[in-house]
C-alpha cells in the first residue's frame, strides 16, 4: 500500500525500467509535501523565538528578517524584570503540581471504590459523577466564581486548586483500569492482613502507574495552560499564574512587541522541552482519552 497523497501524483503506468524512477519521485514528493506542512506548522513558533532576540524595530518587515542583525538576549532580562515572571512561574508550578497530585490520589481512590466495592447506591453515585462531564466549565464559571467569592477565596491558591481537584474523566479512566486488576490479588492481600486502605496503597497505586502517568500529564498541562478560571479569581500578581501574567503583560505592555515575544518564549520553551522528554506519556494520555469513547 503506498502513501495516500502520492496517489494524486501517480504517473500513468511506468514503462519497464522506469519503475524505480517513479518510485523515487513519489517518495521525494511525499517528503516535500510533508516538510512543507511541518514548516507551516512550526513557523509561528520559530518566528516567536527569532523575534524574541530582535531589536524592537525589526519585527514587522516585508520580507521577514529571519536572521536578526544582532542577537539581543537582553530582551529576556528586560521582559523578566518588567513583570514578576518568577512569581508567575512559582505559582503555576505550585498550582499545577498540587492539582495533579490531588487528582491522582482522589481519581484512583474513587475509581477503586467504583471498580472493586459494592455499596448501596453505587450505580447512582457513579452516574452522578459521570454526568458532571455534561456540565461544561464555561456554563458554571459565573456561579463558581460567586461560590469562591462567598468562601473568600478570591486571590488564594485554594481558588486556583480546589475547584479542579477531582476530575470526573480521571475517575472514569481509573475505574476502567482498576477493574482489570484481578480480584485474587486483593483477596490475597487481605488474607495477609492488609487493611482496605492498605490494599489501595499496596496494590492499586503500584499497578496503576501507566494510567496515572497519562492522567498526570493530561491534568498538569490542562492546569498549566488554563486561562479563563485563573484570570477570573486572581487580581494580584502574588497569585497570578504564567498564563494570566502573560495576558496581563499583553494588556499593559502591548506595544513592546519584542519583549512580549521574549516573555512568550520564556513560557513556551519549558513546555516544549518537557514535551520532548515526556512525549511518550503525553501521546499515550491523548490516545487513552480517545479510546474511552
Amino acid at each position: 500500500m503506498s502513501f495516500a497523497p502520492v496517489d494524486l501524483l501517480e504517473p500513468p503506468k511506468p514503462a519497464i525500467g522506469e519503475g524505480r524512477w517513479a518510485k523515487t519521485l513519489r517518495t521525494f514528493s511525499f517528503y516535500v509535501l510533508l516538510s512543507i506542512g511541518a514548516v507551516c506548522v512550526c513557523l509561528p513558533l520559530l518566528w516567536m523565538i527569532v523575534s524574541s532576540v530582535k531589536p524592537a524595530n525589526q519585527l514587522f518587515t516585508i520580507p521577514i528578517q529571519w536572521i536578526p542583525s544582532e542577537i539581543r538576549l537582553s530582551n529576556y532580562e528586560q521582559a523578566w524584570n518588567t513583570a514578576p515572571f518568577g512569581r508567575y512561574f512559582v505559582n503555576s508550578i505550585f498550582v499545577s503540581t498540587t492539582t495533579t497530585l490531588l487528582n491522582l490520589f482522589f481519581c484512583s481512590l474513587t475509581g477503586y471504590a467504583f471498580a472493586k466495592y459494592s455499596f448501596p447506591g453505587k450505580n447512582f453515585f457513579f452516574l452522578l459523577i459521570i454526568a458532571t462531564l455534561m456540565i461544561p466549565f464555561t456554563v458554571v464559571v459565573v456561579p463558581l466564581f460567586i461560590l469562591v467569592r462567598d468562601l473568600q477565596w478570591v486571590n488564594s491558591y485554594a481558588a486556583l486548586i480546589i475547584p479542579g481537584a477531582i476530575s470526573a474523566f480521571g475517575i472514569f479512566l481509573m475505574r476502567q483500569f482498576i477493574s482489570t486488576i484481578p480480584d485474587e490479588l486483593f483477596d490475597a492481600a487481605r488474607i495477609d492482613g492488609a487493611s482496605e486502605i492498605g490494599t489501595f496503597f499496596r496494590i492499586v497505586l503500584p499497578l496503576s502507574t501507566a494510567p496515572l502517568a497519562a492522567l498526570a500529564v493530561y491534568i498538569f498541562l490542562d492546569n498549566w495552560n488554563s486561562l479563563f478560571w485563573p484570570l477570573v479569581v486572581t487580581t494580584r500578581d502574588e497569585f497570578r499564574t504564567v498564563a494570566v501574567g502573560l495576558t496581563q503583560f499583553q494588556t499593559v505592555h502591548g506595544t513592546k512587541y519584542h519583549l512580549m515575544m521574549a516573555a512568550s518564549t520564556l513560557v513556551a520553551v519549558p513546555m516544549i522541552i518537557v514535551f520532548f522528554f515526556l512525549q511518550r506519556y503525553f501521546i499515550r494520555g491523548i490516545a487513552l482519552s480517545g479510546i474511552k469513547g
Binding site: M1, F3, A4, P5, D7, L34, A38, V41, C42, P44, L45, W47, M48, F60, T61, I62, F106, T110, Y112, A113, K116, Y117, S118, P120, L128, I129, T132, M134, I135, P136, F137, T138, V140, V141, V142, P143, L144, I146, L147, I162, I166, I197, N225, L227, F228, A243, L246, T247, Q250, M261, S264, V267, A268, F276, I283, I286, S289, G290, I291, G293
Partner: protein
C-alpha cells in the same frame, strides 16, 4: 441495654468502599451541581455582586434575546464551530491515515505536527496576534501573492473571523490526529488483508472497513471538538477582543464580559443557561444518532 452494632465483614467492606467514594461525591455536589443549580437561579435575578439581588423572573432572558450583541455572539458561535470543526476533522483524519503508514522519519514528523498543542492557547494567541499585524509575518509571506497589499486580518470583520479559524485549526489538528492514529491502530490488520485479497480498492477499503471500524473514535472526536468549539474563549479574548464590532464575539467571551467586566451576574448566567441548553441538546442528539447507527 444497648447492643453494640456489629457489621459483617462484607458490610464493613462496603462501608469502606462508600467512604473511598464519598470525598468525590461531595466534591461534585459542591463544585458541579450546586453551581449548576445556582446558574439557573441567578439567571432569574438582577445582581451586580454589590447590592442585594433583585428577582426579575425571565426578564434577563427577554433582554438577552432582544440584544443585538447576544444575537451576533450566538450566530458567531455556531459559525465558528461549524467552520473550524469540519476542515479540522478532515485534516486530522487525512494526516492520521498518512501517519499510520510506514515510512522513515515518521516519528519526527508526527512530533513536529504535534508541537502547537503543547503550547498554551495564551502563548499562541499572543504570537498570532503579532503574526496578523498589518506588516506582520502572515502578510509578509503572502506579499508575493497579494501585489504587496496588506490584508487587514484583525481590523476587517470577515478576515478576523477567518484569522481565528486558522489559529483554532492550526493548534488542535495534531491532537485529534493522535486520537485518530490510536483509533486506526486498533483496527486489526487482518481486515485489511482480507479486503485486499477480495480485490477491494483503496477507496472501498476506506469506505467499508476503515470508516465503520473507526466509528467510536470519530464519534469521540466529533463530540469533544464540538463541545470545545462552543466554549472557545481565549482566541477571541486575546487576539481580537471579540472585535472588530463584535464580528468575532462568541457566547463564552460574552459571558466573561457580562459577568466579569459589567458585573451583570444575572445576564451572564442567562447566557450560560442558553449555552448549556445548546451543549446538552447537541450531546443528546449525538448519543441518540450514534445509538441508532449501532443497531
Amino acid at each position: 441495654m444497648v447492643r453494640k452494632m456489629r457489621l459483617t465483614i462484607y458490610q464493613k467492606r462496603s462501608l469502606w468502599g462508600f467512604l473511598f467514594a464519598l470525598p468525590a461525591i461531595l466534591f461534585f455536589i459542591v463544585f458541579a451541581y450546586y453551581p449548576m443549580f445556582n446558574a439557573a437561579r441567578t439567571s432569574l435575578y438582577d445582581w451586580n455582586l454589590v447590592s442585594a439581588p433583585v428577582y426579575v423572573g425571565l426578564r434577563n432572558y427577554e433582554q438577552i434575546f432582544a440584544d443585538a450583541r447576544f444575537q451576533t455572539a450566538l450566530t458567531n458561535t455556531f459559525r465558528f464551530v461549524a467552520s473550524y470543526t469540519v476542515p479540522m476533522w478532515i485534516i486530522a483524519l487525512s494526516m492520521a491515515l498518512i501517519f499510520t503508514q510506514d515510512f522513515k522519519g515518521r516519528g519526527l514528523f508526527r512530533t513536529l505536527y504535534f508541537v502547537p498543542i503543547v503550547l498554551s492557547e495564551t502563548v499562541i494567541s499572543i504570537v498570532w496576534r503579532l503574526l496578523y499585524h498589518p506588516q506582520g509575518a502572515v502578510n509578509s509571506l503572502l506579499a508575493p501573492f497579494t501585489d504587496g497589499q496588506s490584508i487587514p486580518w484583525l481590523t476587517n470583520g470577515s478576515y478576523a473571523f477567518t484569522a481565528l479559524i486558522i489559529v483554532a485549526i492550526w493548534r488542535v489538528f495534531g491532537y485529534y490526529m493522535v486520537i485518530f492514529i490510536a483509533g486506526l491502530q486498533n483496527i486489526p490488520q487482518e481486515y485489511y488483508e482480507a479486503a485486499r485479497i477480495d480485490g477491494g480498492g483503496r477507496f472501498q477499503i476506506f469506505r467499508y472497513i476503515t470508516m465503520p471500524l473507526l466509528r467510536p473514535t470519530t464519534a469521540f472526536v466529533i463530540i469533544i471538538s464540538l463541545l470545545n468549539g462552543f466554549q472557545a474563549f481565549v482566541y477571541q479574548y486575546l487576539i481580537t477582543r471579540g472585535g472588530p464590532n463584535d464580528s468575532t464575539n462568541v457566547l463564552a467571551y460574552l459571558i466573561y464580559q457580562e459577568g466579569f467586566t459589567n458585573l451583570s451576574m444575572g445576564r451572564a448566567s442567562a447566557i450560560s443557561m442558553v449555552l448549556f441548553a445548546i451543549l446538552i441538546t447537541l450531546t443528546a442528539l449525538q448519543l441518540y444518532l450514534l445509538r441508532n447507527r449501532e443497531n
